[in-house]
Symmetry: D2
Subunit: 334 residues, 4 copies
């Protein structure tokens, strides 16, 4: 619901940013739909949205190293700054982390205020509609970089936005064979465009045999689980090669039953559970990726809409005909 | 059932070993009881037993580097030798691995024949009843070494034989705090003797709070899951610190339901599933451990019995009053 | 010197291979020139050459899993098979390793005999002149894979054969920026063709500043040292970023003086010294690379000559107008 | 030289600390002696000293999470806070790092002012004279933790203060055999007391053979280089096992000539160069170590002197009869 909100106040260590472009995330769709998860987690009133780029318009008195006029994106996980996690480079899993657009006001607004330490200055060569997606691109980057993929066979379960970014990144990082399981034909098509070698509809007969045929009968060396779907998770582990590695990013809505002995323990696999982005290793990696592969990311920003058409953006995402929708400030607004 | 069996034949790359001492493993108890798993896996007639030390009495024509009279133990996982796993130092997860005493005849016999490449020559300073337990000690070593423990808080769920070996190894490797959850009071007592700092009965009220109290409210940094019990597995993951590591060795008898989102993914943990022993990295580590900590291992070999009292050994294990039972060749047999 | 040699004998675990194609390595050139290193290391008479592909024509009585008629290459480092290195997946650094064409007869001959365990069966899609270079390609792969390069800035000092293979592999594995320092213009040109972004002649003024300019003033994140030249080694370390990683493959002919405090210790860098190829992890990686990037490897096999023109091959390498020269069995010989 | 200095000013993010105890470091001795390094690096007037514990007496207006009266130590490397190193958990190698007592005023004074983010609150159970040595203990911890040592053979070259701390830590972390090369008999004796197994005077004939004899003829698996002495560095690399790891902390005063080919590259070793302490991973590890092994650290604080006897402290260090000298505020000063 669009409404007037006061310009946010900034503390001595904060900056005020005028938002230029913002991506709509699946999480935003959950909140928009006010589903069970949202009802438990969100405390309204709240401005949602956490993927954005904007221009600094004001800085707090203690802020150094950035200045008004600079174009910035920002890490949306705000750690407490003084716990063991924050003091050892793991602020993304701080127990008291606050997420913009979830635990506090976010970026679907004209202005957002945020701690200066969370800013990411954006180089000129990266346009607004790509700079706006550092956050989900970073989720994919964090997942793919959790285990070296060069020269390996990769199975990606789920080609939603982050899954598709993961396809592009795995291809960039030298994956030997990228196999994607995804029910939406439109998204399978995009997966192919950004680097997937094998496209599989989960309903297809003989799917598991095809994965084995493509991997010398041994299964993929790396599983990137991007769906959160319990069947996909189980299928992924069933196919994963002995000694392989599963990186789990997709969030299952309920508990999941696994064949822990057969699919995991006897196989001697490694599992890396992924949350957020590493601060700021992931951001440096994502930026280098954007420099090199701007075209592929461009291909996945399927829709650019003016802010006021946000309802259409949500609808496109809900009916599965969009991947990343970026809302942009129009010239007349600027 | 004790019976006469012919002396095994040896191929050109094998050796024939006269068994001097052999440990009874939980797996052997399962087979002895002929439970569901055994009925599915074992193809009788079979000589069971896979933990042993003995003396080489004969060598095949192609065997080099060992000779009759030498005292040896042996890795009981026999890889195919030519698959991708075997060719990359992962023979323990070879798809065609054959395990002595499970897939082919084992060591509860006067003689065993085995591939020379699987032998482990035993230094004189390690007595028979300790050399006989390289196999389960190696399971524990593989699990503890999967993640550095020095200076960290460790939770071990399940203090059976391998869990107790893991306590001793974690202590040796500099774990800061070792907490053990185990229902059997006798085994908790032994855990304390070999290095555990905190002993917890799973039925105790406030158990989880105690673990948190001992770990600055954050939970243990490393979970060593040795029970295979679904409740223990869930409790372990619930307690595990954000960014922590769970090493899973215990084999659950059925599928396990996990709170994958809350206990694993959001926490950003790593899981290392463990099978067998690394060939032969784990053996070198275990031997160095035996050199340094012989007394603690000694403490866990609770019973040494002559071979013919094997039934008593199985009974002691089944009623929970023994940890490691080693059957020994008596002087009159020798 | 070309001369008649008897067909080699094979032991019970060996195979006899009819050589179809063989690469000439820099090491072969050293021996051909009978330089100081060769005089110390080589015990003539010796058949040199260690990069090849051929067809199995005979197998020893204990050989399984390969058969006459199969096309194979082979790992040329033959470990003793029973030392701590060989038993822990590090046969490439076995103290008693014997290298074909250096410590025993090699492949510049009609036939070579080698242990079956060292064979690498070659898939049909890889032609002879590429299958012949698994060995140097593997050196480059081992070096590049020693440290993840995806999204990182890479400096490669020395674009000889292995350096050029390293360029192609680093590009394949997602390196963000590949900078190459190499005096030979022909080789710099090839570096550019196979993936280098920045080409530098070591004599150029302002070279170090250019490397800094390309890396935000911080220097490259990974140094791949392929020259063995003391000046290049020092320059590489001087430029390497704090916390970066240097992978050293080039062999300096004499001791090297380093500014250990300033260029290495204060910077907190990691150094990975590389020898040979990991058995057989590197071979699997190289094969997957060949499947994906056959064209780039093809570009670096600058000359294919019939065996009898071997002298021309050596001359091309010595005058710096060739990269990889492959000698091939001609149709009339076949 | 003892003189009056004004109480330092504090900025909005700083705290003012009244120093209770301070350790004298080798670096302080260099500056005290005004050697070549000091003349190049130090810009007087400067208060030296960087190892301390004290009590917060005042906090800046932006400081949260600590308060006056709290007892604290502090990390003496102050990163710029906004470069790539600082933003990726590597502030210890920030190019613009400022070190207290070297680049700005230090702790050999009644008061020191420092950024709140560098503080380390000290638990009550750690007494002042041990809390004062977190800094050098952390150097040793960073070095030993750079490579797992459990079950391995370790060679430590140089048993000065940090070398001796490293002995104690390696012992704690399960090193199988700890060998120490050190010319000072007093320090060799202390090495033995805190956990070394083999003590070697560099002048002893047959030293290298003894190291080989203790390591199955293969050499140590890990080298911890703590001397900065070129001969020791070369000897360490010569002895290091193939595939081993050398962690370098000692700072050689000049360039060092190494047999890079024979001692490093052909051996396939890894080198980890160490600077400072990881913030704050190393501090958590050091604190856990202090909880467990207070007695051993106690043994290495050989002298506790009142502040005004600082000259005696420097002399003890210069003549090699002290290890760690801690200067303490006496009761009358408090």
């Amino acid at each position: 619901m669009l409404k007037e909100a006061p310009k946010p106040a900034i503390g001595p260590g904060d900056v005020l940013i005028r938002v230029r472009a913002a991506g709509i995330c699946g999480t935003d769709v959950h909140i928009y739909d006010w589903d069970r998860w949202s009802q438990n987690r969100i405390r309204p009133p709240l401005i949602i949205g956490h993927e954005f780029v904007g221009e600094i318009v004001e800085i707090g008195q203690n802020v150094r190293h950035v200045k008004p006029g600079q174009r910035v994106s920002a890490e949306g996980h705000i750690g407490c700054g003084h716990c063991e996690f924050c003091r050892t480079g793991q602020a993304h899993i701080c127990n008291d982390v606050r997420i913009i657009g979830v635990d506090r006001d976010g970026c679907f607004a004209e202005y957002i205020s945020i701690e200066a330490g969370n800013l990411w200055p954006v180089p000129d060569v990266i346009p607004d509609h790509l700079a706006a997606v550092f956050d989900p691109l970073g989720n994919a980057m964090h997942t793919v970089m959790a285990e070296p993929v060069a020269g390996k066979s990769i199975l990606i379960t789920g080609a939603g936005t982050i899954g598709l970014f993961a396809v592009a990144i795995a291809h960039y990082a030298g994956a030997a064979t990228i196999m994607v399981i995804e029910p939406n034909a439109f998204k399978r098509g995009l997966a192919s465009e950004v680097g997937a070698d094998v496209l599989l509809d989960p309903g297809t007969e003989g799917l598991e045999q095809e994965v084995l045929d493509r991997t010398d009968g041994l299964g993929p060396q790396v599983l990137l689980e991007m769906s959160g779907n319990p069947n996909a998770i189980n299928q992924g582990f069933r196919l994963l090669r002995n000694g392989g590695c599963a990186c789990l990013l997709g969030i299952p809505p309920d508990k999941v039953t696994l064949d822990l002995a057969k699919d995991i323990i006897f196989k001697g696999v490694t599992i890396r559970a992924i949350n957020g982005r590493r601060m700021f290793d992931t951001w440096y990696q994502s930026q280098n990726f954007l420099f090199a592969e701007q075209q592929r990311v461009e291909r996945l920003v399927t829709h650019r809409l003016p802010f006021e058409q946000y309802e259409r953006g949500f609808e496109l995402l809900k009916n599965g005909t969009a991947v990343k929708v970026v809302l942009e400030l129009t010239a007349s607004e600027g």
